[in-house]
Amino acid sequence: MFVEYCVGLSGLVASGLFIYGLKAMSSPVTAVAGIVAAGYGMLFVVAATFLNLFNITPEARPNLLVNVGLGVVALLLGSLWAGWRGRTVQMTSMPQMVAIFNGMGGGSAAALAAVELLGNHDIPLLPLSVTVIGALIGCISLSGSLIAWAKLDGRIRKPFRFSGQRAFNAALFAATVVLAVLTVMRYATPSAELPRDLFFGAALLLGVCMTLPIGGADMPVLISLYNAFTGLAVGLEGYIMNDPALMIAGMVVGSSGTLLTALMAKAMNRSLTNVLFSNFGETGGSSKGPEGEMTAADPADAATTMRYGASVIIVPGYGLAVAQAQQKLYEFVKILVAAGVDVKFAIHPVAGRMPGHMNVLLAEAGVPYDMIYDMEDINDSFATTDAALIIGANDVVNPEALTDKASPIYGMPILNAYKAHQVFVIKRGSGTGYSGVENPLFFQKNCTMVFGDAQAVLSKMVEAVKALGST
């Protein structure tokens, strides 16, 4: 009894700390303290779980030592591997890393369900159903997250599509549900194992098939969705384990993750169904528009113009992240600032491929806060600025979003870079952005293209301005 109380109360403390931590994470000022508090909660509750060793079932007692050994080894292996990966991963690969860790959680929930379904415990109908539902969601989250990881990491480059895919997925889903029902009724059937094993296989396959057709650019939204899925699975498995801490932590994540997914989709001007079923992220990704009127310049000329300008606003986009050029960019900016140029960064809320992507990147490069401006705060300044330097951004500066009702991005607020006296654009060629639409800004009179990889171009720019000296 005493042990049970300790374990139960440790879960209470931990779930309280989790909620506190999540709440604290709603502001950058308190966020660090929040995650640390949640971390202590986790440490505490995991440690307390070992008290359950005084309480294991009689049948498991002979295996005690082996089981504990396995548990400790698994804990160490899992946390060391993930800790090492997490420490060393590059900031630009963050989304796929989160995808893996999330998939692991879903897998853990599915494994837990599998253990429950393995032993012929006499589980009543209701908990049994909950177990199976949790397993289904956990499996989808596991295999789906792995596909999302592979896509973001460039292991799967093309979305995998065939005609009738949607019908196939629907049929697969139906089959999985049927297998789930059969699994629940397994006590009534003579051969219990087959439907159960098939069920797990089908659920994993479902996650794969659901994720394959969705474009890589939509993956952040999907990862957030699978995050909510894992939370839900954890909550449901918590119920069958009679562990309210699992239920609470899982459900809190399930609901907050769902909301977060919706908020992300909204910030991208999309709906969730649109993300899941319309494959918008890939259509026309390679369409080329009229190129005739683009003016090109070489990096040194552009850099010199900016060096002798009075003010420059920098608009970073996804291309900056791809080129990993944030350090070089800041180096360039520091030289401009030293030369007396007034430099500001303008960040669009959905620049890049994940929310806050550019803020994270620039923060990593060491750009101070007070140089970074939100869209609302800076949009009026473009008209009075000498030069706007657009680096690997496209959709977020597309004036068509303001004017062309037929455009797929119509209605999205943009950064008014087109109003600047002179606009420089660094990009590799005439590739379109995420939405696949042409950007008329690039054909404007006051716009000069500087073609090349952002990292390479910026290196040349740095050299050029350095060569000018600081006079």
């Binding site: 420490r87 415990h121 007070d370």
Partner: protein, 119 residues
Amino acid sequence: MMASVTSMTFVIALYIFMLAAFTGYVVISRVPSILHTPLMSGSNFIHGIIVIGALNALFNATSIAEQAIGFVGVFLGAGNVMGGYVVTDRMLAMFRPSQKAEPARPEQEKPGQEKQGQP
């Protein structure tokens, strides 16, 4: 299977789910979009608590199959916990205003401050 002091009926479980879901909803509803990524990885970390469920299952394993699956479950869960924590911590550390020793615009850092509004 676990401690009877935390056993509960289905209806009570629904109450707990309802409260937890609501809590998750309110807590997140005002997060600025710049924090969406750390928040995602932070909540990812939190559902790593599944590792204690997997641990309990492993502790009570009676067959090789249960031990194997339990081992995998604990491994995955531990990865979720540690990975989620490390990644979140790393990202949030970048948002620390002290990093650049320029505590500029501190008032913007509290987006959700209570504001006396007009009815």
